[in-house]
């Protein structure tokens, strides 16, 4: 089964990455969106657009921008979600 990991804390990126399988996705939300400027995803990587805009940030282009409509759709494209806290 595929998993969408939802990360809101940039400090936990390494931890969360350690469990990502190649078919899993990672969505950055809240303060974790800063990573979309700094890093490249190692599997399918997405970033919540509203949280980027709110912080005056842009993605470095290697993350797929998703608005809330896209966020909801993503949770259904994967078999389950794990919010990495």
């Amino acid at each position: 089964m595929t998993t969408l990991y939802i990360l809101n804390n940039p400090d936990l990126f390494q931890q969360c990455s350690a469990v990502l399988d190649e078919n899993d996705g990672l969505l950055l939300i809240e303060n974790a969106v800063v990573l979309a400027q700094q890093l490249e995803p190692k599997t399918a990587g997405f970033v919540l657009e509203e949280d980027l805009v709110a912080r005056g940030l842009d993605s470095n282009g290697s993350w797929g921008n998703k608005d809330y409509d896209g966020f909801v759709a993503l949770t259904l494209e994967y078999d389950k979600t794990v919010s990495w806290l």
């Binding site: 089964m1 998993t3 931890q15 350690a18 469990v19 399988d21 389950k80 919010s83 806290l85």
Partner: protein, 119 residues
């Protein structure tokens, strides 16, 4: 088919209530006859240390409940070998409730789960 649930402990005890509150979710789900795995990774391995004495902080010791996981029907409890090595801990310092597991075993349990909780 029984739904599979994984509970991931990744924080040391007592600084936050997350260990205690996750444990309560696990016990409740067990009462609903779900197939539950408790996974101890990263600093979550400290939840299992044998000689915890939080009573000196006037905090309740929830680690004794880990000993009863099997009794509650939670048959899979795994502790990350990597996490133990990085923290210079040995299995002998832990409550004898969780089997050591490699990263790929932990990943496969998570992959097979219908639901995963962290706090």
């Amino acid at each position: 088919m029984r739904k599979r649930l994984s509970i991931i402990f990744n924080k040391a005890p007592y600084g936050t209530q997350s260990g205690r509150e996750l444990l309560d979710i696990a016990l409740m789900a067990a009462a609903f006859d779900m197939d539950i795995s408790a996974l101890f990774i990263e600093d979550g391995v400290y939840q299992l240390l044998d000689n915890q004495q939080p009573d000196i902080l006037h905090m309740k010791n929830h680690s004794s409940t880990f000993k009863a996981l099997e009794l509650y029907g939670i048959e899979t409890a795994l502790v990350s070998e990597d996490a133990l090595i990085h923290r210079r801990l040995s299995q002998s310092q832990l409550l004898p409730v969780a089997q050591p597991a490699k990263q790929n075993e932990l990943q496969s349990i998570i992959a097979q789960s219908d639901f995963v909780f962290m706090l």
